[in-house]
Structures are given as structure tokens and as C-alpha cells.
Symmetry: C2
Subunit: 666 residues, 2 copies
Amino acid sequence: MVWQIVALVSGVISVAVAVYLFNWVLKQPNDSEVMARYSEAIQEGATAYLKRLYTALGALAAVMTVVILFTLGWQKAIAYIVGSVCSGLAGYAGMYVATRANARVAFAARSGLKRAFPVGFFAGGVMGLSVVGLALIGMSVFYMIFGDPEVILGFSFGATLVALLAKAGGGIYTKTADIAADLVGKVEFGLAEDDPRNPAVIADNVGDNVGDVAGTGADMFDSYIASVAAAMILGNVLYSEEYVVLPLLLSAAGILASLLGILFVRTGESNDPGRALNTGTVVTTVVFGLLTLAVAFLLGIDRPWGVVLPTIAGLLAGVVIGFTSDFFTDIDRKSVQNTARAARTGPALVILDGFSYGLLSIVPSIIGICVAMLAAWFLAERFGLDGTYGVSVAAVGMLAITGMIISSDAYGPIVDNAKGCAVAGGEGEEAIRVCDRLDAAGNTAKAIAKGFAVGDAALTVLVLFSAYSETVGVEVLDLRNPAVVVGVLIGAMMPPLFSALLMLSVGRNAFLMVEEIRRQFREIPGLLEGKVSPDSSRCVDIATRGALKELALPGVLSLATPLAVGFFLGKYALGGFLAGSIVTGIVFAILMANAGGLWDNAKKFIEAGAYGGIGSDAHKAAVVGDTVGDPFKDTAGPSLNTLIIAMSLAATVFGPIIARIALFEL
Amino acid sequence: MVWQIVALVSGVISVAVAVYLFNWVLKQPNDSEVMARYSEAIQEGATAYLKRLYTALGALAAVMTVVILFTLGWQKAIAYIVGSVCSGLAGYAGMYVATRANARVAFAARSGLKRAFPVGFFAGGVMGLSVVGLALIGMSVFYMIFGDPEVILGFSFGATLVALLAKAGGGIYTKTADIAADLVGKVEFGLAEDDPRNPAVIADNVGDNVGDVAGTGADMFDSYIASVAAAMILGNVLYSEEYVVLPLLLSAAGILASLLGILFVRTGESNDPGRALNTGTVVTTVVFGLLTLAVAFLLGIDRPWGVVLPTIAGLLAGVVIGFTSDFFTDIDRKSVQNTARAARTGPALVILDGFSYGLLSIVPSIIGICVAMLAAWFLAERFGLDGTYGVSVAAVGMLAITGMIISSDAYGPIVDNAKGCAVAGGEGEEAIRVCDRLDAAGNTAKAIAKGFAVGDAALTVLVLFSAYSETVGVEVLDLRNPAVVVGVLIGAMMPPLFSALLMLSVGRNAFLMVEEIRRQFREIPGLLEGKVSPDSSRCVDIATRGALKELALPGVLSLATPLAVGFFLGKYALGGFLAGSIVTGIVFAILMANAGGLWDNAKKFIEAGAYGGIGSDAHKAAVVGDTVGDPFKDTAGPSLNTLIIAMSLAATVFGPIIARIALFEL
């Protein structure tokens, strides 16, 4: 019990520091009234959207709670509700502080980089620390009360369903506004990014907060819990209690390491803030490695090296995948520069080259995942532990430093918004230059976070697959069994289907918003001359309604399809379904994230002066690539991680019931 | 033995009819010297390319023959060589008659549709009938001599390796020229399709012949053989000789049905030639169904319905998948029209919408494949046969009417070329209108052929997977075994990797050709005014060299990777590799074929007058979509069918050796 209390206390410390940082950020001054008004418009839009989203999710959670109550018992039902609420809470807190930090960062930028950077980074830290703190508190409490890791699966399931819809909805919202703002504002009227005359600018900034801050926070929250829950279940099935508590304590160690790492993130006036973020990540990694050793030996694990080495292998693999994930998307690489060069022939070859490099980029990530998995497996087996358990603690190790990763990641959209505030507030050139430097530093952090997210989702679902096998009793899959093959094929079809529905939603909503922006420029006299303000609320409304309406179908499909496959064709078909969905889920997630990042940077490469620079035909072609890449990298791609985790959890949670009531068991 | 002779004789009849049609087509007149010269330029380019391709493939075949000779014995080595030669021969014959038919069709178009249609269709028939005839002769002879279906696997492997490289090389060639011709000719200089002033027009027409005729012929040839060989192996493992001979006789029945069907393809002056093609397909289908019954009962199969019903299920599934495969690509559908509407906002939403509908289109095809498989399985089991054998005869049934399918498919590029001849030869408006009508009819046939190709490749590889399991002794796959998971992930990465390499090749070569075309228009005085001819041979040379050079890496990877996985991680990992590659192979093949077809038709929809018609901004945006779609649908997509069959065959052929020498068997 003492160890559970250690885990709980670590979670509480994390939340306490988050609250402290929250107050600190809100105390930072902002004396510019224009920026304050701009920021308030974003706050209102984001709050209104999240309220409506959470109302809808509340209804879904109510239905699911009843279902779980009658099928799986009250313990899991309670865990499910609490998981849903915590996931929503973490996202809301992140959004709340992010939308209040933006103008404060911009105001601090007047006094230089050294003053402005911590405002942005600590605001991100609020998100990072509340996510991991709430997760660890939830898991420790449920394990203390019920002593059964299966209940934590319910907690994880609640968090994941909220994450899936928050991520997907936020992704639709943010790209609807971004694309529409670019298509009309930049391309048709030649306005700069964040030009306050553009009616979609507020919606675009709201989108950054509900998509990149709240959505990504929810996404990491759910992977974090799922990986710990899966490791605890395997520990429970295979070994004694230390092995069940170990994943909780590794998470606690990760939180303490992240807190230390955050302390190290400082920058001077002339330093690169990106390096400060990287230093924080490195410090966190080293501290976590040492703490892992301490945990394994203090806990009295009988085969300590069998867990320490896989954990460190997972952690290192995460860092390596993270730092190399920009191999194909880095602006200094051949892939980006070739794509930019192709822009001289127009948009078609930009699309073809970027898409092809995106396909190529699957190779190093898959190899990284395979190496991490094989290393964790062999190291565990070498020291007498089950290889699958080794892979499960590797996944926990990879995600243990999530607190630090999210803090750096959430920093990105916050300083991006800050620049919007500075432009809207007519800040001086120097302040805007500071904001630009802050913004540039966010990109590496974002790439690293994406690498972590993909690598970890892959390991986690592989472990969840084992948890499913153990729970339901599916030893092996016979690929000559037609039910298994049908399951595999239907599972493989889900990630493309889900992506298609999200991207079509973006296209449809962006089309509506484009028409609205054109209408405003046509019908509001003086708008283009900057004499009157645009009617931003109409665009915010289109994005909000659109995102919520379009969520229903993909949400229902992702939950109903695995259950239907299991119900009609049995547990082996459901196992095949999971395997198929994991395979295409990983492949499409990497493809979309990297192709999108590459197109973004190819555009930036031209904007930096290559092939005629801004305004040239090559630039216009590269903008097309960037626009296509936006929903790839910010809507569909990152939702797929959550999708495969959600489907794996649904299968594992409901698996035992499905196995009992299946119509045709083949 | 009498049954083997029946099969052999059917193959000989098929080839004989092909030779008859060949002579008939060459006897058709062409008195236009301009068209004859134009056609000759295409013949020269295509012949030069195929000669260089076959020289390279000959070297590869020599090496492989030695490898097979020393590892698998002389029987398989001989079968391998003959398979390679037959595959090359079928492609060459198709190209030969196609490049000679084009001007003859254009000339006949002066006298109207009724005269011109059979020239084009019978030229396609030469290809269709020689493919199936050569395949059946080869398989019957090897089975008569050696009595061992495993030898036929060697024949199939030879055919597939040639097909893989012919298809991929032809795909790179044709789209290099097509994209370059469009980007400079249409977009920059406003020239029409096939304008003889465009230096890339000849290369573009050569590409149609080496890509769509020779490449597709080789592709269908290899699927056809692989499905029969896999069924024969299963019949051999599970049952007595009738079940081994049955697939050969079903193919013979398919050939006779195709011959009858081809007789029914006739059109009057005012009829739609597309309907004539469809009538031929329907007649072939019905006749084949009846012949299947006859074969099963005459052969004295002890459970006739257990093979007849799955065969017919496969056949019907093929027809249904074929006729519905244009659900998402049909010009009258919402998907195409929404994509065209999105063109009003520029190219970005065209790409996003088309890609998303391409992702959606995976759903009906996968469901079609699943239904076909489950139906075949249950019908076979219901009548006391092994379900996998049922699936294997369903695959044979689906491909049995290949003769008719290829004939209609090869018709497409022939009449497309005919239009080029007519434009170049300055034919009258009426003749060009006839060519346009002929051309439009080819599109449905092409869509049907693609549906068949995907559906069949899916069933065939599933059966090959069973053949691999039986041959190597991999009963089931344990997805908690890390070697299996690594195999699955590496297998899943192969189709995207292969696609990426092919499409990057297209992009690179097209870029070179674009520069060459621009140079010619800049440096050759009088070219744009039509006073002098362009230097077409430079473009032909760029396409030829480029395609061959770029083939090496994907060719080596597709052969070496499965063998390396098997060698390092053992037979279970190799089984996982096949499963992973099949899953993403099917998904990407459908995605690319359908997204490409959809963009093509969205452009045509606008060209027919919607949203401003030709020359409008919407049209320019739609052309971008079409250009992106070209290598999707004609280079990468169709090569994936062959890739997964090639990798499955490599694994099955070398599996027993790999199982013996694997380094780490997990």
C-alpha cells in the first residue's frame, strides 16, 4: 500500500505544481487593451466550443455508463465516468490557461525573449502536469480501492473515448478555420497570416487551442493511461503484486523527472528557446533513467534488470524516434527541398513528391518501433521475464516523460497565438520578432511529440493486443480461418475510413466558411480597407457546428464496428480486426503526420527565399501542398493513434461478454 | 491425362484465334501516310523500350534461374524460365498489335463506328487470348510432364517477376510522359491533348502501349497463373487428382466462354460501343457458369456442388465488384461532383476530397472481397469440402473470364492512341468524333478490369498464404511472438515503400522531361507555330532511361526483403510479413486506383461544362487533381497487386529452404 501512496502523492504534487504555474501565468501583466480584446474573443470561441462538445460527450458518456453498469458492473462504470471527466478536465484546463496566456506572452515580448519565454512554456506546463497528475491520481486511487487492474481499464476506456472525440473534433475545427482563412485571405486577397481583417482569424486561433492544446492533451492522456493499464494487467496475469505496482511507480518517477526537467528549461536573451526545450527533455530522460533503477531495486523486484533495461530501451527508443522523426520533414533535408523544387512545375508534383516522401517516412519509424520491441522483448527474456511484459514496461518507459513532452508541445500553439495577438495589437517590430523566435522553437517540440505519440501508440496497442488475448482467451490467430481474415480486412479498413470521414468534414466545412468569408468581403463595406471589423462570430459558429455535427458518424463507427465484428463473427474475428486496424492505423498515422509536416516545411523553405520566395508561382504551388497537409497532420493523422487505442480498449473491455454471446464463433 | 489434353487444346485454340485476329487486324487498311508515320514513331519507341526492358529482365532471369537451379532443382528452373518468357511474349504480342492497330482504327473511323470498333476490339482480343492461351498451355504442359503442381509454382514465379517489373516500368514510363506532356503542353502553352507540336506526345502514346497494354497484360497473366497454381497445390495437398486438374479445366472453360463472348461483341453505327463490351462480359459470364457445371460433373468430382457453387460465387463477386468498382469514380456520382465543386476553391480541396473519397472507396471493395470469401468458404464446407479450397476455386472462377476482361481492357489504350493518330493526321471532325466515342467506351471496361484485378489479387494472395502455410508448415501465427509482429510491420511497410519509389521516379523523370519540353519550345524556332516538328526522340529517351534506371531499387527490395525477413527471423516472421503486406497492399491498391479514377472524372465533369468548363480556374484546379491521380491509378496502384503476389510466391517457393537455414527461429 505504501507504494500506491507514493504514486498518489506524486500525482498530487504534479497537479499542485500545475495549479501554482496556472496562478503564476494569470498574474503576468497585459496592459494592451487591443490584445486583451483579441484574446477574449479567442477565449469565448474556445469556451463555447468546448462547452458544446462536452455536453455532447456527456450524453454519450451517460449512455455508455449505463451500458457498462449492466454489462461489466458498477466498479468499471464508476471508473469509466471518472476517466471521462478527468480527460475532459485536463483538456479544459489546458485550453483555459492557453487562451489566457497568449496575450500575456505577446505583452511580455515587449520586454524581450527572456521574459516572454517562461510565460509560454509554463502555460504549456500547466497542461503537461495536469494531464500526468490527473492520470496518476486516478489510476492510483482506483487501484488502492479495488486492487484490480481491470477496473483501471474502465478508467482508460472513459479517457480514450473522450480523447478520440476531442481530438477528432478539435482537428476538424482547427483545420476548417485554417484552410478557409488561408484559401480566401492569403490566396484571394493577399492578406498576411493573422491579419485582423480576415473574418476567419479568430476561428483559426480558437482552433489552435481546441485542436492542438485540448485535443493533443486528451490524446496523450489516453495513451499514457492505456500503456500503464495494459502493463498492470499483464503484471497481474503473469506475476505478483510488485509487477502490477511497478508501472504506476515508473509513471511517478516520470513525473518527478519531468518536474526537474521543467526547472531546467530557461533561456537567455540571445539563446535559442528550442535548445532550452531540448535541454529539458534530455534532463528529464536522464533523471528518469536513474529513478527507474531506484524504483526497481527499492520495490524489491526479484528480476530487477528484466524491467529496468526494457524500460530504458523504451525511453531511449522514444527519444530516438522523436528526434529522428523529422528526418523526412526537416527543412534542411533533401526530401523537403526536392518537394520545394518540384513547386516550380506547379502544385501537382508538390503533392506527388510530398505524398511519396510521406510513404517513405514509414520505413524508419517502423524500423524504430521494431527495434524497440525486439530489444525490450529480448532484454526481458534474457533476465527471466516474459517478453510481452518487457514490451509493456518499454511502452510505459516511453510515455513516462509525457509531462515534459506535453509541456513543450502545448507551448507551440500558445506562442503561435501570441504572435496573432501581437499582430492584431499592432505591437512593435521587435516584439513580433521575439514572437517569431518563440514560434519557431515550437516546431521541433511538436515533431518530437509526434514521434513519441506514434511510437508509443504502436507499443501500447501491441501490449493491449496481448491484454485482449489474455482476457478473452485468444491464443493465436489462424489466418486460414475466414472469420479471422474478414476481421483483419475490416479492421484494416477502419483507419482509412475514419480519416476519410474527418477530412471530408474539413473539406465540407472549409467550403462553407470560404463562402462566408467571401460574402463578408463582398457585403461589408470598408472591411478590406480595415475601417470596420469582420463578423468573426459567424466563422466561429460554422466551425463549431460543423465539427460537432461531423463527429457523430466516425464516433459511432469506431465504437460499433469492433463490437459488431465480435458479435457476429466471434472473438477470433475480433482479434483479427484489432490486428488489421493496428497495421493500417500505424501506417496511415505516420504517413499523414510526416507528409503534412513536409509540405509545411517545403512552403517555409520557399518563403525563406528559394525559387522566387513569397508570392512566386512556386510559392503558390507550395501553399497548395501545405493546405492539403494541414488536415493530414492535424486532423486525421493524430486521431488515428487514439482510434486504434480506443478500438483495442473497446475490444478488451467488452471482449469477455462478446466471447459469450457471439452469433457465429469460428 | 485426357483432361490435361483438353486443357492444353483449349490453350492452343486460344492462341490460334489470337493469331487469326492478329492477321486480320494487320490486314486492315491505312492509307493515310501522316497517320502511318505517327504510328511508326510510336512503334519504334515502344519496341526500343521493350527491347531494353527485356534485356535487363533477361539478365535478372539468368541469375534467378541459377539460384533456383541450385536451390530448388532443374524442374522448377525450367518452369521459371518458361514462365518468364511466356510473360514477356504475351506483353510483346499485345504491344506489337496495339501499336499497329491504332492508325488502322483511326483510318477505319472515316467509315464510321461500325467499321472502326472491331479493329480496336479484336486488337485487344489478340492480347487477351494470347495471355490466357499461353498461360494454360504452359501450366498444362508442365503438369503433364512433371505431375507436380509445385513445378507450376516455378512457372508462376517466373511470370510474376517479369510482370512486376513490366508493370512498374511501364507505369513509370507512361506517367512520366503523360504528366510532362500535360504540365507544359496543356497548362503552360494551352495545347490540346495529343497536339503534335508537343515534343512529349509520342512518348505519351508509347507509354499507353508499354504501360497499359503490355504492363496490364503481364499483370493479369501472372494473377491468372498464380490463382490456378495455388488452387492446384491445395487440391494436391488435400484431395485426389481430380481436384488438382479441376482448376486447369475451369480455366479452359473460361477460355471457351471468352471466345464465345468475343463473338457477341458487335456494335451498329449508332449504338454505344461500351454496351457491346458489357454484353460480351455478360455472355462470357453466363457461358462460363454453364461450362463449370459440365466440367464438375464430367470430371466425376465426388462433391461437385462444393466446387461449382464457390466457383460461381467467385465469378459473380468478380462481376459485382467490377461493375460497382466505379461507384466512387463514376462521373454521375456525388463523390466526383463534390470534388469537381471543390475545384472552385482551388486545387487543395480537390486533392483533399479526392483522396478522402479514395479512402472511403476501400469500404465497398473490402466488403465485396469479404462476402466473396465467406460465401466460397461456407458453400465449400456445406458440401463437405475444405473451405480454403473453396476460396481457391472462387479465385480461379473470378479470373476464368480473364480472356474477355483483358480484351476489353486493352481495347482502351488502343482506341485512345487511335484518337492521337486521327488528331495528328488531321482527320475530319466526324472521324475524330467516332474516335471519341470509341475512347469513352474504354473507360467502363477499364474500371471493370481494375475491380477484377483487385478482387482477384486479394483472393489469390489469401489462397497463396494458405499454400505457404501448407508448404512451410506454419499452422497459425502467434501475434504475441515479437518475430511475427516485426514481420507484420515490415510487410505492411512494403507496399507504401514500393509505391513511394515508383511515384518519386515518375516525379523525377517528369521534372526532367518538363525541362526538355520547355527547352525545345524555347530553342526550336517555329515549333509553337507548327512550322517544324519537335524532337520527340529526346522525350522518348528520357522516359525509357528513366523507367529502367528507377526499376532496380524497387525490384531488388521486393525480392530481397521477404527472403531477408525469413532468413533472419524464420518462417513465422515470414508468414507475418506476408499477412502485413497483403493488408496494406490491398488497401493502397484500392485507394490509389479509385482516387486516381475519381480525379480523372472530376476533371472530365468540368470539361463537360460545369463550373466554367475548360480553361476556367476550376478546370485548372481539377487538372492538378488529375495529374496527381495519374501515377496513383496507372503506376503505383496496379503494381501493388503484382507486388503482393510476387512476394507471396517468393515466400512460398523459397519457404522450405528458408525454414531450414533461418538464423533465429522464433
